[in-house]
């Protein structure tokens, strides 16, 4: 299989308007990925599937990732002129900047015909609001059907063009998206008084334990 850079270059030549970025993976696995812009993603996916040299006919895995808003602290060295006329004083100035978060969907593509892979492609939403959309790749790979429904369910990415976008695992009336990092479990989640979850507190309140019958 050609390298990811070659694929990117070929894609850029084929789809001139698209923005395709190589995202490197610093870990030992070194499975780098291509970040696709949302508007061209489905066309690119079609190309990847049907291209004779790639034939990525099999989308193994589709998943979402949540990257919450992050406060980035930047330190800048600023030279402050000394009012006394001496040499400039170098002062470190801290600025905090809110880096907006985003939701990401990642697809692992393989070729069953040519037995190569994976080619990892990813797409990012603009922000983390509730109606963030990405193009659905289900028309390209049917295997994304349930997986995109799951991403929609758990992360709240709305997939445009998905034939049947409903919640997959949570019930239909459920409101939140539980896999987001800022998800807060509702208090009345389990109406039954159960020791699960709050076991640590319970251990404190319930100690001493009852008498052990001989």
């Amino acid at each position: 299989m050609e390298s990811l850079e070659q694929i990117r270059d070929r894609l850029l030549a084929r789809f001139p308007g698209a923005s395709i970025t190589l995202v490197t993976n610093p870990g030992p696995a070194a499975e780098h990925s291509l970040l696709l812009s949302a508007e061209h993603a489905r066309k690119i996916a079609m190309f990847l599937r049907d291209d004779a040299a790639l034939q990525l006919d099999y989308c193994s895995n589709a998943t979402g990732i949540d990257w919450p808003d992050k406060e980035v602290v930047e330190t800048k060295k600023v030279a402050v002129p000394d009012p006394a006329g001496g040499p400039d004083k170098v002062v470190e100035e801290k600025t905090t900047r809110l880096e907006p978060g985003y939701l990401e969907s990642v697809y692992h593509l393989y070729s069953m015909a040519l037995r190569h892979g994976p080619v990892v492609i990813r797409m990012r939403t603009v922000n983390r609001s509730n109606r963030v959309t990405l193009p659905s790749l289900t028309p390209v790979w049917r295997s994304c059907d349930f997986q995109e429904r799951e991403i929609y369910d758990l992360y709240g990415i709305v997939f445009d063009g998905h034939p049947d976008l409903r919640r997959l695992l949570m019930w239909d009336e459920f409101k939140d998206h539980p896999m987001r990092k800022d998800y807060v479990e509702p208090d009345d989640f389990e109406w039954e008084p159960t020791p699960h979850g709050a076991v640590l507190d319970r251990a404190k309140t319930h100690y001493p334990a009852p008498e052990v019958k001989p």
């Binding site: 640590l200 251990a203 100690y207």
Partner: protein
């Protein structure tokens, strides 16, 4: 011919019918409460805490309340409170001990990770699987008195593993002893050297006597446990 497959199937079931009367490879059923199949040595159910002395389990717990198991426990069913004071452990080093050690066995899934990560060979997996209670909120929350089992019991359920652990602990104790001896010797030498200059200070071993059994030096369990936690009355 139509029907031959059916006849073959009937023959197989007939064979199994006859076989169930004489062939133990076919008849594998065990009449459970009366007959029991032998548990393999590696079998694990719920955790237990190993103590050295059955007579004084609370005084001789191997647990030093390091809380590693608490952190690693996947369902978070362990709760530990450290002691304020220290007492000597199996190797004779003064260590903390758990004033509270509770495992909620209604949450515990018996994965054995606590036993695996325990660096002090204190928490091990029991083989009691007939655990039943009438109340799932309190009776299955085991405290340290219920969890503590003597080393001899541990030997009876996991003989191979317990022997390894004992050998390891003995080696550690020996090393500690030698270290203490060396330290004592060094201190003595130092003291002797000091004594030549200033013959006043007597030599003092740096730690509690390692040869002494842990149980004899440990304070009585009821005495040191905070009042609110003492169950035995």
């Amino acid at each position: 011919m139509l029907g031959s497959g059916i006849l073959k199937g009937l023959a197989v079931t007939a064979k199994n019918f006859v076989g169930s009367y004489h062939d133990p490879a076919r008849m594998v059923t065990v009449q459970y409460p009366e007959e029991r199949s032998k548990l393999p040595e590696n079998y694990r159910s719920f955790p237990l805490l190993v103590c050295e002395d059955a007579a004084d389990p609370m005084g001789t717990l191997r647990c030093v309340a390091c809380q590693i198991c608490e952190k690693e426990c996947p369902p978070q069913c362990i709760y530990i409170e450290k002691s304020k004071d220290k007492k000597p452990d199996a190797t004779g080093k003064p260590q903390l001990y758990p004033t509270v050690f509770a495992i909620d066995t209604s949450v515990c899934m018996g994965c054995g990770i606590c036993a695996e990560v325990c660096p002090f060979d204190s928490i091990k997996m029991d083989q009691v699987f007939e655990v039943a209670a009438t109340d799932r909120f309190t009776e299955l929350l085991l405290n340290r008195e219920q969890l503590a089992k003597p080393n001899s019991y541990y030997h009876s359920i996991h003989p191979t593993e317990a022997a390894e652990v004992d050998a390891r602990l003995a080696a550690a104790r020996l090393a500690a002893e030698e270290k203490a001896k060396a330290a004592a010797a060094a201190a003595a030498a130092k003291a002797a050297a000091a004594a030549t200059a200033k013959p006043a200070a007597p030599a003092q071993p740096p730690s509690a006597p390692p040869t002494a059994s842990a149980s004899s030096t440990a304070p009585a369990p009821g005495a040191e446990a905070p009042k609110s936690y003492s169950r035995v009355s």
